[in-house]
Structures are given as C-alpha cells and as structure tokens.
C-alpha cells in the first residue's frame, strides 16, 4: 500500500479546478436557463391569468347585457300587450257604441217607418172616412142636415164668452157651407146667427164641398169650425196624439 502526498495534492487541486470549471460552464448557465424559463412561465401564467380575468369580465358584461336585453324585451312585450289590450278595449267600445248607434238608428228608423205607415194609414183612413161620409151625406136629407149643423153652429156661438160674442156682433163674417145655400136657407142662417149674437149679422156666403156637410163661420181673426171635415180632422188629431203617446 502506497500513499503519495503529491498525488493527493494534485487530485485536490484537480477537483477544485473541476468545481470551478463546471460552475463556470455547466451549473450556472443551466441553472440560469431554468430560472429564465421559470420567469418566462410565470410571465406567461400572469398573462394567461390576466387574459382569463379579462375574458371573465367580458363574459360577465355579455351576461349583464343579455340580461338587460331580456328585461328590455319583457318590458317591450308588456307594453305591447298593454297597448294591444287598450286598443282592443277601445275598438270594442267603439264597435259597441257603433252597434248601439246603429241599433238606435235602426230602431228610430223603424219607429219613423211605423209612424209614417201609421200616418199614411190615418190619411188613407181619413180620406176613406171623408169619402164614406160624403157618400152617406149624399143619401141624407140636406134640409135636416143643414138644420142640425145650423143648430150646432148656434150652440158653438153660445159657448163663446160674452165679450167675444160682442166683438163678433156687427163684424163682417163669412159663412162657408158644404153645399150652396138658397135665399131661404141664407135667411135662416142670418136669423139664427143674429139672434145668438144679439143683432143683425153681417154675413157673406161661400160654398166649399170639402166640408162634406155643415156650416163654418170665419173672419180675419175668428174661426168657428162646424163641419164633418172639421170633425174628421179633430178625430184624426186625437188619434195621432194617442199614437204619439203610445210610442213614447
């Protein structure tokens, strides 16, 4: 067994030199590259984290925008439904009013038509009554009829107030008869009217066949109707008033 101090020294120096050389050419550069890669990886991770944060923020913004759009859509739909309901109600109300107006118009037209028909019927009935009355009067005794109508004329004058009768006395009056009056008939009329008015009557005579039968007394400010025509007119007016009262 040998132990050489020179070799010990050489080997110690060799190992120390090797430590320095490998530190210079191996350990330091490789460790530096690892550290640089770690720094680069950390930077990339930071950038990725920032990008992820940014993406999450963008996603949240999109979500919020989508929620806002949904809310806006719901509000728009609610407004549209409300407007549609209001328009529907308005249209229904207008249609209902139009229908009621049409119904009222139709009802009024129907009433008017009925009234017109009734009036026409009344006119026709009145004309028929006049015709019937004229034909009946043609078969009656003219003298007796005239006497009856003269009596009713006197009764009409008697029913007038005293003051009015006093005004009529002496005033020019026109006697309208349904048939022409001869001299005797005119004298009877003058005597009967004068007796009722209290003096001589100032009468003129005129014939109107439309009266059918009877005598009427007229002046510019006075009229005493006493004929079948006037009676028929009064009956027709009464019937008309009854019809109007029934319609109301």
């Amino acid at each position: 067994m040998t132990f050489d101090p020179w070799t010990l020294g050489f080997q110690a120096v060799n190992v120390l030199v090797l430590v320095w050389l490998l530190h210079r050419f191996f350990w330091k550069p490789v460790a530096g590259m690892i550290a640089a890669r770690q720094v680069a990886a950390a930077t990339l991770l930071d950038k990725a984290e920032a990008a992820r944060t940014e993406a999450e923020a963008a996603s949240a913004e999109v979500t919020a925008t989508r929620a806002g759009l949904a809310a806006e859509r719901d509000a728009t739909l609610a407004t549209a439904r409300k407007d549609a309901a209001a328009a529907r109600d308005t249209l229904l109300a207008e249609a209902r009013a139009d229908a009621e107006a049409l119904h009222d118009t139709a009802k009024a037209a129907r009433v008017r038509a009925a009234e017109t028909l009734k009036a026409n019927a009344m006119e026709a009935a009145q004309g028929l009554a006049i015709t019937i009355a004229g034909q009946l009067v043609a078969r009656l005794d003219n003298v007796a009829t005239d006497a009856a109508f003269l009596g009713w004329l006197v009764e009409g004058l008697a029913a007038l107030p005293e003051a009015e009768r006093a005004v009529l006395a002496g005033a020019p009056l026109e006697v309208v008869s349904a048939a022409a009056q001869d001299g005797a008939a005119q004298n009877r009329i003058v005597k009967a009217v004068g007796a009722e008015l209290g003096g001589a009557a100032n009468l003129t005579f005129r014939t109107d066949t439309a009266l059918i039968a009877g005598h009427e007394l007229h002046s510019p400010h006075f009229s005493l109707r006493n004929s079948w025509q006037a009676d028929l007119a009064r009956i027709a007016a009464a019937l008309h008033e009854d019809a109007v009262r029934d319609a109301a």
Partner: protein
C-alpha cells in the same frame, strides 16, 4: 497482477510523480468540461434532449440540496454537484479496459474527503462566523468539544475510507474474477460495480451536504429554550 493498493507513477514532473489516477482524472475533467461547454453553448428556452437531461440533473441536485438544507441550493450546487458527477464518472471509468478508476486509489478519495472537510469549515464559518463555528463544537455542552472535534475529522475520514473501500474492492474482485475467467464471467460483477459506483457517488454527495448543513446549523445562534 499488480496490487490495487499500489500506485505506480507514469512519469514525473520534477520531483512530483504523476500517477495514472491523476492522468485519468485529467481525462475525466476534460470530458466533463468540454461536454459542459458544448452543451451550454446552445442553451435555449425550448430545450434539446441533451439540454433536458442537463436541466434534469441540475434540478435533481437542487432538489436534493433543498431537501437536506432547507435553504437555497445555489451556494452548494457547484461543489455538491461536481463531487457527485466526478465520483460517478470516475467510478464508471472502470468499464474502460485498462483504466483504473481514480477513486480506487487512496489519494483521490482522500483528496475528496479533505475538500469536504475544508468545505465544512468554510461554510460553517460563512454561516455563523468564526465564533459561531467554534461554539458549535461546544454543543450540547463544552464537555463534548473533544468528541465533536474528533468527530469532524473521523466523519470525513469515514467518507474517504467508505468510497475507497467500495470502489477498490469492486475493482479488486473484478480483477480476480477476470484473471480466473476472462470471458463474460466478470460482466455481472461489472454491472454490479456500476450500481455500486452510482450509489457511492450519491452517498458521498449527500453526506457532504449533511455535514456542511450540520456545521452551518450549529454555527447559528440557538433559540433559547422556554423554561
């Protein structure tokens, strides 16, 4: 067959004999340094296979140092990593026919143990100062000073003896078996020698780190115990 315990000089430089172990060490140094220089000349962020292997080696050494010391690995990386690489390559150089590993002679493991011994002193003083380092011998009490001083020598001596004994014995056994049956028979022993060489390199590096860490820790002020 020459005794593996004998070192014969190849040549002399003045009064200094140059042994074969020194020449093999120079060759190993040349291979390591040239390889490292070529490898680190083209480092990039996207590593090649060779660069990936180199980074794996550095990361592994850093991890081991961090696990043992709990501190940053940079101050210890060059020493511990170089010790491991040199011992590993030196041990495995026995596979080259005609080459005797430098670690199979007493001078090289002794030099390595001496470097570790001096490194323990250096890092101990750097970590806790000269006073702190010397006070570390008085822990846990001053009675232990002689034993602690003796231990600091013997543990380095044990590293020297362990490395030398294991490698030398492997070479010795292979040489004996090879002299008896030279063809194929020594191969399993050579494979076993590879494993032994790797394990011894790892043990030497880890023990060096443990002893240096122990010296650094002992040199630092100890927290007072609460009564």
């Amino acid at each position: 067959m020459d005794s593996p315990l004998q070192s014969l000089p190849l040549f002399t430089v003045g009064p200094a004999p140059i042994m074969a172990s020194v020449v093999v060490t120079w060759a190993i140094m040349a291979v390591l340094v040239l390889g490292a220089a070529m490898l680190t000349r083209r480092l990039s962020q996207v590593p090649s296979k060779a660069q990936a292997v180199a980074e794996l080696l550095v990361a592994t050494v850093d991890s081991q140092i961090r696990n043992v010391t709990g501190a940053a690995p940079a101050p210890y990386r060059a020493l511990i990593g170089t010790l491991f690489l040199f011992i590993l390559i030196a041990n495995w150089s026995s596979l080259i026919p005609g080459v005797t590993p430098p670690t199979a002679t007493m001078e090289t493991p002794a030099a390595l143990a001496a470097i570790v011994f001096l490194s323990i002193i250096f890092f101990g003083i750097r970590g806790g100062g000269l006073g702190g380092f010397l006070r570390g011998f008085a822990r846990p009490n001053p009675v232990m000073i002689p034993l602690n001083m003796l231990e600091s020598i013997t543990r380095s001596f044990s590293m020297f003896v362990r490395l030398f004994g294991n490698v030398m014995s492997g070479v010795f056994v292979i040489a004996i078996v090879g002299s008896l049956a030279a063809l194929l028979v020594p191969i399993p022993l050579m494979v076993l020698d590879l494993l032994t060489g790797a394990v011894q390199a790892y043990i030497f590096a880890v023990l060096s780190m443990v002893f240096i860490t122990s010296a650094v820790e002992k040199g630092r002020p100890q927290p007072k115990k609460e009564s």
